[in-house]
Symmetry: C2
């Protein structure tokens, strides 16, 4: 009992170090697959892909695959190729996202589309996406192929839905959650679930891992949305207010709009239509988000999904793997503080 009480005391800032220790040896193998399989006789492909793949990404999704495999005491190596496939799908969506958003900065570096142009980013994204499927086919599990092809279609569907909702400040919270469940959480959940498939642990375990990944993914995205208004380029590699200036309707704005006076709603409508993109407009946006508790309540929503992610693991034995996956949730949320 004493130990349990102690573990509930406030600790230091949550970090990914537990997951990194857990995933470390596997991650080396995954990185070998990634480097090996992004090669091509067409030099622009590894050059452009390497910029993003080697460029400071956390490898969070492949680490989740590895962490879930550790949770299940899976002793094989099949998940290495599959974790690389997940990272390729993620990289392909980032390349296409930056074209779609005309972004110039990601993870503190110039984006591939700024350096090599939109055409190259579109096509190298297509290449990585195809390569991801080749890796899955080599593994040979139709169940994994089904999970990841379905996730890919759902991601694309979510991205188109977000495009449609762009600048639509009246998007409901429900609708917004559907969109981020598709565009962000689907790959988190697939990355976790496939470890249950290769470990052959049955549908209950698969579902628990899927739920962990999905809820973590939603929490992760909501924190990202909040961070856009509170962080700066140093800490997150993009400028504060990027989403705001792009007219991206995220949960903080949805809440502030819904709770606002008619004048305030007009401000948000103007802002999302691109009529308020100056520094003083961002300050006004931050003021309104504060008075309406929109940021703190977005974080409360994120904590709700984070709690569900942690509880999804309740059927698994308490040990280093479960602790690392739990701390990953805490880390995802603590980024905003």
């Amino acid at each position: 009992m004493t130990a349990k009480v102690l573990s509930l005391r406030p600790r230091g800032t949550p970090s990914l170090s537990g997951l990194m220790v857990l995933a470390g040896p596997g991650l080396t193998a995954v990185n070998h697959v990634i480097i090996d399989r992004m090669q091509s006789p067409v030099a622009l492909i590894p050059e452009l892909a390497g910029h993003l793949i080697a460029g400071g990404g956390k490898r969070l999704r492949p680490m989740l695959t590895l962490g879930c495999a550790a949770l299940l005491d899976y002793g094989g190596t099949r998940h290495h190729k599959l974790a690389a496939a997940v990272e390729f799908i993620h990289t392909a969506t980032l390349l296409h996202d930056d074209v779609v958003d005309a972004s110039g900065l990601r993870r503190g570096k110039a984006t591939a589309n700024r350096l090599w142009g939109n055409p190259a980013s579109v096509l190298v994204g297509d290449f990585l996406f195809s390569r991801a499927f080749e890796l899955m086919v080599e593994d040979g599990s139709l169940r994994v192929l089904k999970i990841l092809s379905s996730a890919s279609a759902i991601i694309a569907e979510g991205e188109v839905a977000q495009l449609t909702a762009q600048r639509e400040v009246e998007t409901s919270e429900d609708r917004y959650l559907e969109i981020i469940t598709a565009k962000t959480a689907a790959l988190f959940s697939a990355a976790c679930q496939i470890s249950g498939v290769v470990a052959e642990r049955g549908p209950d375990v698969e579902n628990a891992l899927e739920s962990y990944g999905r809820n973590l993914g939603i929490a992760f995205q909501l924190v990202d949305d909040a961070i856009d208004f509170v962080s700066d380029a140093d800490t997150m590699g993009k400028d504060v207010g990027d989403d705001f200036r792009d007219g991206k309707v995220t949960l903080p704005i949805i809440l502030a709009y819904a709770r606002g006076s008619e004048d305030e709603r007009q401000f948000w409508r103007d802002a999302m239509r691109g009529k308020r993109v100056g520094p003083e407009d961002l300050i006004e946006a931050q003021r309104l988000l504060g008075t309406s508790n929109a940021i703190s309540d977005t974080m409360a929503r994120a904590r709700h999904y984070g709690a569900r992610a942690m509880d999804a693991l309740s059927g698994f034995p308490n040990g280093p793997a479960r602790r690392a996956l739990t701390e990953t949730v805490e880390f995802a949320i603590a980024r905003a503080y």
Copy 2:
């Protein structure tokens, strides 16, 4: 013998009607799969995809899958989903190509990127690509998945290679053939080969169909390259000289450049760098292509690959299916005349 001699006499203009008769009933089933599986609750997806899918495409690749299945007397229906997957992959690459080339006109209609913008075209392309893999996973053949995921990676690789070679007038004929074998012929060959897989006819049959599709695809692309200088928007749905003005180095230009005087080479260098995009420059290009026999020799190359495609079918019984597939090659080549 008499019949054989008669069949060698000049016939009317070759058409796709034989293939259409052969593929007709199957194509109805394939079209049902296509329409059914391009649906999404996100309305923009079927709207944008439908513009291209319903918009006057010949369905040549799925018809090849159907025609090859008929050649093998395959009596099942598995190839319907797979032919739809092939068309989805093709449609996804067209959507992305039009973004890459900033094209405004395809098949005589405004392109999707002109009507809905680049972001929507990129993302709906991603959706169709994912949906194609979902269809293959539903079929469940890992061999088909391997053929089509490999083809997809090769296509993307070929597109990036073409981007790299863009405006490079010193591209060799060998290099150019590698590029079009990847970007165009890989999907033709996969579309044909997968019928051999579902009909379970063994590697020799698969290889023959792969060869037929690959050689037909190369011939098809070379004729397309030639048509750019001789046709007009009425007959092919894009303007004459589109490739020329885009600085696309195709075989006619490669041949004219290699055979040209220093002055002529300078003209092609300037043209590919975008310094000669006026109507009088196109006329000069056409003149140089004529004096160097570059168009007629591009067509000779196309006939060479067409002949190889027809001979790849020599092991199959002479019947309506083989005749239709042979006439498809003749049709592909006759488009330029």
